[in-house]
Symmetry: C2
Subunit: 206 residues, 2 copies
């Protein structure tokens, strides 16, 4: 198909498609004439993934790294998850003290060597952010966070498809990144439900 049809089928403007081509997110089509290229169904699917990443708040540079992990999967499913996480996290420069984070995640079975440095640094930075704001999470609430998140991760990893490595790659890389907005959105709804139950319903309803 031509670029105009690719645009029509994905709802992405021709200008934006050209931008993704220039940025290397979308592979070039096959040249059918000096100023014309043809695109395949694979381009339609790749464009949908790009849109989903960008709309989830993933930057162009991060999206390029996520797509690179999709295109060049490492040998093991575990390394693949590391690659997906690394794509959306800043590199670890050793500037953050991970002691408190290590102590916290040891409660859900973390042992040295089990995860990427920058993932642990992410927990450390989040704890620092709360601390800097003078906000403390009580031990009771933190215990529920740890237990609930552990259940989520176990269900996710148990569900990694094993029928093909391509399906596993897609599940791990996209699932890790794209499900984040869903979990945050569900938490807001659940907080409002719990709040309505405790404090009474909102004045203006849905």
């Amino acid at each position: 198909m031509r670029i105009s049809e690719l645009s029509a089928r994905t709802g992405v403007t021709v200008a934006t498609i050209k931008y993704y081509l220039r940025e290397g997110l979308l592979p070039e089509g096959a040249r059918s004439a000096p100023t014309q290229a043809t695109y395949e169904q694979a381009h339609v699917e790749r464009l949908r993934v790009i849109r989903a990443l960008i709309e989830s708040g993933v930057s162009i540079a991060e999206s390029r790294r996520v797509l690179d992990a999709l295109d060049h999967p490492p040998a093991s499913a575990h390394d693949l998850l590391g690659a997906a996480h690394a794509a959306v996290l800043p590199s670890f420069d050793g500037a953050v003290d991970v002691t408190a984070a290590e102590h916290l995640v040891a409660q859900i079975g973390w042992q040295r060597g089990m995860c990427d440095d920058r993932v642990l640094a992410g927990v450390a930075r989040a704890l620092e952010g709360l601390d800097d704001a003078g906000f403390s999470v009580s031990d009771d609430v933190m215990a529920v966070y740890l237990d609930s998140i552990k259940q989520i991760a176990h269900a996710e990893i148990a569900g990694v498809p094993t029928e093909s490595s391509e399906a596993a790659v897609r599940y791990v890389v996209l699932g890790s990144v794209l499900v984040e907005p869903l979990l945050l959105a569900l938490r807001r709804v659940a907080e409002q439900i719990a709040s309505a139950e405790r404090f009474g319903p909102a004045e203006a309803g849905a």
Copy 2:
């Protein structure tokens, strides 16, 4: 204290403090001379909250709305939570179909009128994002998401402090927004732990 001491005590540069003053995030200090103002401990605390919001990825405009909810709390704790959520969410323009989202959150006790339209629209957009990327969450995994998130929200709302409305405001507004990076970071660690348990440990350790 002068602006230089406020900067030294918070680690925020004078230029950035002046920017927050211009943007209305930080209240002006008391004028002590035509070109000089003095700042109080309250400015130190407010600056820490602003830093925490900005570093959590909350924009300047969103931070202004979160701080406004802190400064002008609505009458009930439930409306307060709505104000905090509204501050960090795009307004609801009716452009998204919330039917699937309503169906989903009904499983955790949602009933019409229990939550803000834009919070429900957030779930709808997240589901659309997954759908657009051709990524589907299995019923088993979704059931774990819903149950785990419900537990988190219940623990959080049960912990709303009741000793003063100021403490309740701080807890609800900041907790809702600032805990997000912690939950996402914990999920990444928990995924890597579950993955190491299932697929073997990473090559390069922490």
